[in-house]
Symmetry: C2
Subunit: 154 residues, 2 copies
DNA sequence: GGCGTTATACTCGGATACCACGTGTCCGAGTACCCCCGG
DNA sequence: CCGGGGGTACTCGGACACGTGGTATCCGAGTATAACGCC
């Protein structure tokens, strides 16, 4: 079980975008330079955030990305789910009802206990990620980093 | 982010093995018939459980697998970690210190806040899985399933 | 009849191909800006 | 000097190859069993 490496890119990129002055935008090329990652591939990931309604993208000169809503209402879970999908990593294929030892349907009125445990764990993971907003991340950045970003974005 | 499909196999197989009479064993071939999954591949996964110290495997006729310790002391996390590894799905590559906008080392005295959030979420997932033991799963099985397994294992 | 030896059949364990998803790249459609020209 | 039109350059968005890890399979090493022959 592993998240795409681009998850980290998207999280850091969103943190930078959140520091933009109101109305300003930043391009994928600028961000790729900022982080030292492949530009076109980063652009591909940011497009996912646009499709998820987290960012809005504008084309043309002075175009780029900006947040679609205030950072207080963007959770880390929103970002991770946008780039990786919201599906549960464990999928129950009803193994108990297959093969020679298949359980009879009348014994399967309750959902599979193992699937329930895995689902609860995933829910705990989601809760933990949704408890932190992008604004919380930005608020915790060291002053030096904020200054550096301000210079980039200004 | 997704778990190997074999995670489900291992969880169900462990639940069956936990119902074995004391001292008895069950072979990978029996289990693969029971669940309708490829035998050699299942054997490969069970070998991981042996390496993790959850099962013990004996060769020869009447050989097979049995639990290495009581099911109360085997958590779902133990099983999942054995088959998928215990690594955090999110790996922090210190993106903040790379590229043109790299933060200075003196601004990175604190660990990356994003990595910390992801780590906490993973820890919540692990806690949730470690709270349930194999004995809990077996105790919750319907009576019909237990009977069916008893007939298989007896 | 009891015991040692041998042959056997069955088990796990690791080494070997195949395939899908993430990774990396490219090019095209669309748009706001800027310059130029005319009034 | 001011307004309109066209060209331009820049942006995002989706379509196209490549590599790594999961999936599936096989065969070999090792061992408890069972039969067999001998004492």
């Amino acid at each position: 079980m592993k998240l795409p490496e681009t998850s980290e890119w998207v999280l850091h990129a969103a943190a930078v975008i959140a520091q933009l002055p109101s109305g300003a935008t930043v391009s994928a090329a600028q961000l790729s330079e900022h982080f030292g990652v492949p530009g076109p591939y980063l652009s591909k990931q940011l497009a996912k955030l646009v499709r998820s309604g987290i960012l809005t993208g504008s084309t043309g000169p002075r175009g780029g990305f900006r947040l679609a809503r205030i950072p207080e209402r963007i959770s880390i879970l929103d970002l991770v789910a946008a780039v990786d999908g919201a599906a549960d990593p464990y999928v129950c294929r009803e193994l108990r009802q297959q093969g020679r030892g298949a359980a009879r349907p009348e014994d399967c009125t309750q959902p599979c206990a193992l699937a329930a445990v895995m689902r609860d764990a995933h829910e705990a993971w989601r809760e933990s990620l949704s408890a932190v907003s992008l604004a919380d991340i930005v608020a915790g950045l060291p002053a030096g980093v904020v200054d550096k970003n301000r210079r980039l974005l200004g």
